[in-house]
């Protein structure tokens, strides 16, 4: 199921409850792997799946205060902007993800082959 908005496709990732509260989970859509985070106050964020430093799964990190701490070497990133906080690591690619009316996660991403 997809809708088109400004050259982007809406991809359904399934129920938001797949992501434990306060944590992240890694999703694969076609060739793309992303991390989706669901904060304790029910905000959703999405970034690239792997840490630019040494490739950890960012979804395995600790989330809090709008940031995620990478599990490998504790690099910290702002979930909204993807920018590194307190260090000069490359910023994360961030994606737009939201919750649909039926409680599913929806990713905004340019059209891809399915």
């Amino acid at each position: 199921m997809s809708n088109h908005t400004k050259g982007k496709t809406l991809h359904s990732l399934g129920p938001a409850s797949q992501v434990p509260l306060g944590e992240g989970k890694t999703f694969e859509i076609g060739d793309l792997k992303i991390a989706v985070f669901r904060t304790r106050d029910s905000k959703l964020f999405s970034t690239q799946a792997f840490c630019p430093h040494k490739g950890a799964l960012l979804a395995d990190g600790i989330v809090g205060g709008g940031t995620v701490i990478c599990p490998f070497h504790a690099y910290k990133f702002d979930l909204e902007t993807g920018k590194a906080v307190g260090n000069d690591c490359e910023a994360l690619q961030s994606y737009q993800v939201e919750r649909s009316e039926d409680g599913n996660l929806q990713l905004h991403h340019p059209c891809m082959n399915k």
Binding site: G14, Q18, T26, E28, T39, R40, K54, G64
Partner: protein, 815 residues
């Protein structure tokens, strides 16, 4: 329009600017519109480093604590290079040159001091300017002038043999000038040093090439338009072509005196730094006189600014300043000096202990009163300075053998002499930070351990380099480091020390990490604090802890150790390092079934299966049928053993059974950091039990020595003996008691080796073995409760806490 009050600060020096910094850190920027007046046309710089600028070790650009951009970034209106001419108390406004008038709701005077110029002839030209070649030594501009003039000068005289004069002399020496120090008194630095110490210092200075002239009062500066020499009261003369006057400072109190405020040697203030005659006016720093004292060292000034900031920000309106204990650690002419308290015995019964080695420039003296340290001078060797400061600050009882205070005892940890380590040496191995990088960061403004670690990432990995980082901070900041209160917080996101935090958690019955954030910091969740809070809450509440898995590090979410390729390492528990053929077969079968890339024997005497995917973890655990070895978390890890009386011909104790009992009892008990144990069957100690967090060594007579606080990893330390007992049961009892005490009192991520050194083995013995404070039975109950509450985390193979707990990558189904 804001309803902010207007705060005016007269003075942009080390007290004034620091006060504004402290105020901003306490949210004062929301309450006040801040206006500052400064005499010098720059931001605030570290005046103490001027001697470094003079001697060439510091670039003038490097010494700014608050560059001009800091003021604009923080919304502070700075009138630099503008002298305040008067305070109008009736209209509550401050008047400056060019007809400027600025109203105030609160006024802080931080005008500091000016150099004292002793009366003498020939100082100035008719125009009123100083004769050419005459300099003061207070400002950047002074430094600049001295450096430029030194280029064409042969011989310089410094009038004033106090701390500042000697620093000026060092600078001149480095500029290649023949340097003479001229001093009124009979020995140098008479404020800090006694006569003999002054004599030793004179010897050291002469050895460095400085000429010292004592008991000389300068009556005139000779030379028509340029300096040609000094004339002394006793009729003698000294040829020179440059004079630097550094004969003391006088507080700048005119503004206060002119409007009728009480002024003695400084502007008189009370314990709230408030001027008694005017509730709106305050004074801090060198210009203030508190309980009869005027301070000229930076630490007391910064204590004053913190109190004033607490009061004016409303953060703590009851904060009081009660005066400062004057204890300082300095480098004078590159020579280490630590001074505190009284330099002479004052009362009958005062004891004096001293040690002098003139040829090496060493002088150490203690003044002891009623068994406490009342004063000390350490010149030329300040290795014991840190512990003497502690005795002095805390008034603790001194060891009977006074020599212990003056010299490091053999067997003690070698003090960290970071000064001799080359800049290229790597201090933080986890993050590859060199000493040079750390020094650079300190010199560019990082004055607390936290800011230094944040800026360089040093100490943010395993953390074992922190003592060395601290030592470099002390060395590179010339003692001007800041004790960040956040250094004492249990976790950075909650401004409370561990005891205060535990108190709040218990009284408010906060059982989860999110409850703690909600109740104590208005819901401001901080990612870096979650794991530490989870550890603490589990220790406090045991079974009643509300375990929010998002507060766990990944290892503790999936109960395995994450590896660099995102696979995991699985280490099943092998009690005491003793296994069986059946167990080995099960492990081998699992290795085959899952094509495990590496099977490795660990240092903890068990077997590691490396390269297992997250998704396979539950199935691997089920196929192994063995409980978790907890090789991935901050808890009891292992109890290694050597064979002992079961087989070994040297064994005097059954170390294998004991090790297995220990491991069965304490497996998985959470602690501030990992605990690695071992038991040894005889003093040959083949299992290295003396370098473990807890160890038990069998000795002749079938007894067991219990060691605590040992280490053999990034730090190597021999454990201290807690006690010697007769039975396995007693070993379990005392080990459990120590573990519980560590769980309750250790800082998060503090290994037992740091913990034991911090508390002290004497105190631990008194508390845990002698039961001097009656805490033993409670500790025994608590550790028993923790043991009873233990569940094998690998049971989650059958009952995951969340459907996707072990999912690596989710692939949404196509629709």
């Amino acid at each position: 329009m804001s309803s902010k009050q207007q705060l005016v600060v007269i003075g942009n020096g080390m007290a004034g600017a620091r006060f504004v910094e402290d105020l901003l850190a306490r949210g004062g920027g929301d309450k006040y519109q801040i206006v500052m007046f400064g005499d010098e046309p720059y931001g605030n710089y570290n005046r103490i480093l001027l001697s470094g600028v003079l001697s060439g070790t510091h670039d003038p650009k490097e010494i700014f604590l608050n560059p001009l951009s800091w003021y604009s970034e923080n919304g502070i209106r700075l009138h630099s290079d503008a002298r305040v001419t008067a305070i109008d108390r009736a209209r509550c406004q401050v008047l400056a040159g060019d007809g400027l008038s600025v109203p105030y709701d609160r006024l802080v005077i931080a005008t500091g001091s000016r150099p004292f110029v002793p009366p003498m002839d020939g100082l100035k030209l008719d125009s009123g300017q100083f004769k050419e070649g005459v300099f003061l030594f207070r400002t950047l501009q002074d430094c600049d002038g001295i450096i430029k003039f030194a280029g064409r000068c042969r011989k310089a005289a410094v009038i004033g043999g106090g701390l500042l004069g000697l620093e000026a002399a060092r600078g001149l020496l480095n500029l290649g000038v023949e340097t003479h120090v001229v001093h009124l008194m009979s020995h140098l630095m008479e404020v800090q040093l006694d006569g003999p110490a002054g004599g030793v210092l004179k010897g050291t200075l002469e050895h460095l090439g400085v000429h010292v002239h004592l008991e000389k009062a300068t009556t005139a500066i000779l030379g028509a338009n340029e300096v040609s020499g000094l004339q002394f009261k006793d009729g003698t003369k000294l040829d020179c072509d440059m004079v630097v006057i550094s004969a003391g400072i006088r507080a700048n109190c005119e503004l206060a005196r002119d409007v009728g405020m009480k002024v003695e040697r400084g502007i008189v203030v009370d314990d709230g730094l408030n001027c008694p005659d005017d509730p709106k006016i305050f004074a801090v720093g060198e210009c203030a006189q508190h309980r009869g004292q005027v301070y000229g060292l930076v630490a007391p000034l910064w204590e004053q600014t913190a109190v004033l900031a607490d009061r004016l920000s409303g953060r703590n309106s009851q904060a009081t300043y009660c005066g400062s204990k004057v204890s300082t650690k300095l480098k004078v002419m590159g020579v280490e000096l630590a001074v505190m308290g009284d330099k002479h015995p004052r009362e009958p019964g005062d004891e004096e202990v001293s040690y002098v080695e003139r040829s090496r420039g060493i002088y150490k003296k203690l003044v002891i009163r009623n068994g406490q340290l009342a004063g000390a001078i350490l010149l030329g060797d300040s290795l014991r300075a840190a512990s003497l400061h502690q005795y002095f600050d805390q008034g603790s009882e001194l060891p009977e053998n006074r020599a212990e205070l003056l010299f490091p005892m053999s067997g003690e940890a070698k003090p960290l002499t970071m000064a001799y380590v080359p800049d290229s040496a790597q201090v933080c191995n986890c993050n590859g930070v060199s000493k040079g990088r750390l020094v650079e960061a300190v010199q560019s403004g990082c004055r607390s351990l936290k800011s230094l670690c944040d800026a360089t990432r040093a100490g943010t990995g395993c953390g074992s380099c922190k003592p060395q980082v601290q030592a470099i901070l002390e060395m590179a900041s010339d003692g001007l480091m800041v004790d960040d209160p956040a250094a004492h917080y249990y976790v950075p996101g909650i401004p409370l020390t561990k005891p205060a935090l535990i108190q709040a958690i218990r009284t408010q019955e906060l059982r989860s990490v999110s409850a703690v954030f909600e109740a104590l910091v208005e819901g401001r969740e901080q990612a870096g604090s979650k794991a530490g809070l989870a550890s603490l809450l589990k220790t406090i509440w045991g079974r009643d802890y509300e375990d929010e898995r998002d507060a766990r590090f990944i290892n503790d979410r999936v109960h395995a150790n994450v590896q660099k390729d995102r696979t995991f390492s699985v280490v099943p528990r092998i009690y005491g390092g003793v296994t069986s053929a059946a167990e080995l077969r099960r492990i081998a079968d699992v290795a085959d079934k899952y094509s495990v890339p590496m099977v490795k024997i660990t240092g903890g005497q068990r077997i590691d299966l490396l390269g297992i995917s997250k998704e396979n973890l539950p199935r691997v655990w089920q196929d192994l049928g063995m409980p978790s070895g907890h090789a991935y978390t901050k808890a009891f890890r292992t109890c290694k053993t050597c064979v002992g009386t079961e087989f070994c011909r040297y064994g005097v104790g059954d170390s294998t059974s004991l090790g297995i009992k220990i491991e069965r009892r304490f497996q998985g008990i959470e602690s501030p950091h990992k605990m690695k144990l071992a038991t040894a069957g005889c003093p040959r100690n083949c299992s290295e039990a003396t370098t473990k967090d807890l160890g038990a060594v069998a000795v002749e007579g079938g007894r067991w020595e219990i060691y605590v606080g040992g280490a053999a990893g990034s730090r190597v330390r021999k454990g201290d003996i807690l006690c010697v007992v007769d039975t396995h049961e007693e070993v379990l009892k005392f080990m459990g008691r120590f573990m519980q005490f560590y769980r309750e009192n250790g800082k998060y991520l503090e290994r037992t080796y740091d913990f034991v050194e911090r508390i002290g083995i004497e105190r631990l013995r008194r508390l845990l073995v002698d039961d001097a404070e009656g805490v033993s039975s409670r500790l025994d109950e608590e550790i028993q409760a923790a043991v009873d509450a233990y569940r094998d985390p690998w049971e989650e193979a059958l009952q995951p806490v969340h459907p996707t707990q072990f999912s690596d990558v989710l692939v949404p189904s196509k629709t």
